[in-house]
């Protein structure tokens, strides 16, 4: 591997963390945008509609952390914010029910909606989605004598998120499709009921951000970690090799045909310090992490693809800078 020595590292020693002697935490270098552009790399590792793994290489921890924080708490999404309870005779209390409904992820793309103005009492078709949930539990008339299974005895004994009905306001029906605004998952259990119990609710979803309430966060998780690196300092063979292998996550250490241990792939190591438990091999491995190599894991809740969420997050930071600059220039 070329330029291995140039990478800033943090070493995981037996009892402490140690930075390389020539490492000043990347803070002493003068700011140079051209140099940043030259060093900065992005590698996409995994990407589908719900999950994504990518590497940001060669940037300051402050930026990586800003992107992470933005994804969690400042990228908007739609969620149920108000619940009008016309009737609720189930055993779940109104406020608990409303909270549960709020946490149901909606598919609606927040980019197609606006924030509802704070003083607005009525929602418009541009900032609000309305749903209704009307379910009544009844006893099945033709009850089989010897069955005690709830699905044989009662109708609607479980209320699922798929029973939430979208009610378009204004022109919404021509702009959106029901499948694109409703709950992401249809099998979320909202409440259990027995004959006589009834729910009649009006649900109002608005656009919001995770800073206000976690239900508005577009990600299930968004986190980063530093790339692990393991260097073997001497030959490890035979029983020692097997022992070394067992000290790390599966797939990290390989053993070749001669019984010699080698580092196969340190990326998915958990960086536990198990090697240091064994005196005979603790000198064989150096554990470290690359300080400017961030492995991001973004898990979307379902409304937006994870790559879109990341771009939205960076856009928010950019727009913040822009509006602040405009304001400063008007002084």
């Amino acid at each position: 591997m070329p330029q291995l020595e140039e990478k800033p590292r943090v070493f995981l020693e037996e009892y402490r963390l140690k930075n390389a002697a020539n490492d000043y935490g990347m803070a002493d270098e003068k700011w140079n945008f051209k140099k940043f552009v030259k060093n900065f790399r992005i590698v996409i590792v995994r990407l589908d509609n719900f999950e994504m793994e990518f590497d940001l290489i060669g940037l300051q921890p402050a930026f990586a952390n800003a992107f992470r924080r933005l994804m969690l708490s400042e990228v908007p999404s739609m969620a149920i914010e108000k619940v009008m309870v016309r009737n609720n005779t189930s055993i779940i209390q109104d406020e608990v029910l409303a909270h549960r409904l709020g946490l149901i992820p909606l598919k609606a793309d927040p980019r197609l909606f606006e924030y509802r103005p704070e003083d607005a009492t009525e929602g418009t078709e541009y900032d609000t989605l309305e749903f209704s949930l009307k379910v009544k539990c009844t006893a099945v008339k033709s009850q089989p004598k010897d069955s005690y299974r709830t699905e044989d005895l009662y109708e609607n004994h479980s209320v699922y998120s798929s029973q939430i009905k979208w009610q378009p306001i204004g022109n919404q029906a021509s702009v959106h499709k029901e499948a694109d605004v409703g709950p992401v998952h249809g099998d979320i259990l909202i409440s259990k009921m027995r004959p006589g119990h009834e729910l009649d609710l009006q649900l109002i979803a608005v656009k919001g951000i995770g800073k206000d309430h976690a239900k508005f966060s577009p990600v299930a998780t968004a986190s980063y970690r530093l790339l692990p690196e393991i260097t073997l300092t001497r030959e490890v063979v035979g029983g020692q090799a097997a022992l070394l292998q067992s000290c790390f996550s599966p797939g990290v250490i390989g053993i070749d045909s001669e019984g010699k241990a080698y580092v196969k792939d340190a990326r998915y190591d958990t960086c536990s310090r198990n090697v240091y438990r064994y005196d005979d091999i603790k000198d064989a491995a150096i554990l470290s992490r690359i300080r400017d190599h961030f492995i991001f894991n973004v898990e979307s809740v379902g409304a937006m693809a994870p790559n879109v969420i990341f771009v939205e997050a960076v856009k928010i930071l950019r727009d913040k800078c822009k509006s602040l600059l405009d304001e400063l220039n008007s002084f």
Partner: protein, 122 residues
């Protein structure tokens, strides 16, 4: 539900008397006598996200003696941003920092979009 509003920046210099109810006098030593090179800016509705990113850029400018930020109280959504320079006016440094951060974001978006496109091709 609170929407992230356009942020107001109030420098202790620009708002000496008005708005003091909302902003108790900052009373930071040096701001009165040291001229334009030392300032604390108060960012409304901002926190570590912007503060730390901006600080990490501005701290690495040549003329900057000190740059740091603090969120004085977790219950108030305010961020205090302090800049001390040798000669350049602090406001210029702040503007330059914001411009640089904007450039970083633009470059990140471009590069990320490019990489995603590339990834989807294969």
């Amino acid at each position: 539900m609170k929407i992230s509003e356009v942020c107001f920046i109030i420098s202790s210099l620009y708002v000496p008397t008005e708005g003091l109810g909302a902003y108790p006098k900052l009373g930071l030593p040096g701001d009165e006598e040291s001229g334009l090179t030392c300032r604390t800016y108060v960012f409304q509705d901002e926190s570590h996200t912007l503060g730390n990113a901006l600080k990490s850029i501005i701290n690495r400018y040549d003329d900057v003696d000190f740059c740091g930020y603090t969120v004085p109280h977790p219950a108030e959504s305010k961020m205090h941003f302090r800049i001390q320079t040798k000669e350049t006016p602090a406001l210029e440094v702040l503007k330059r920092g914001l411009k640089d951060l904007q450039k970083v974001c633009d470059h990140t978006i471009d590069l990320f979009d490019k990489e995603v496109k590339e990834f989807n091709k294969t």
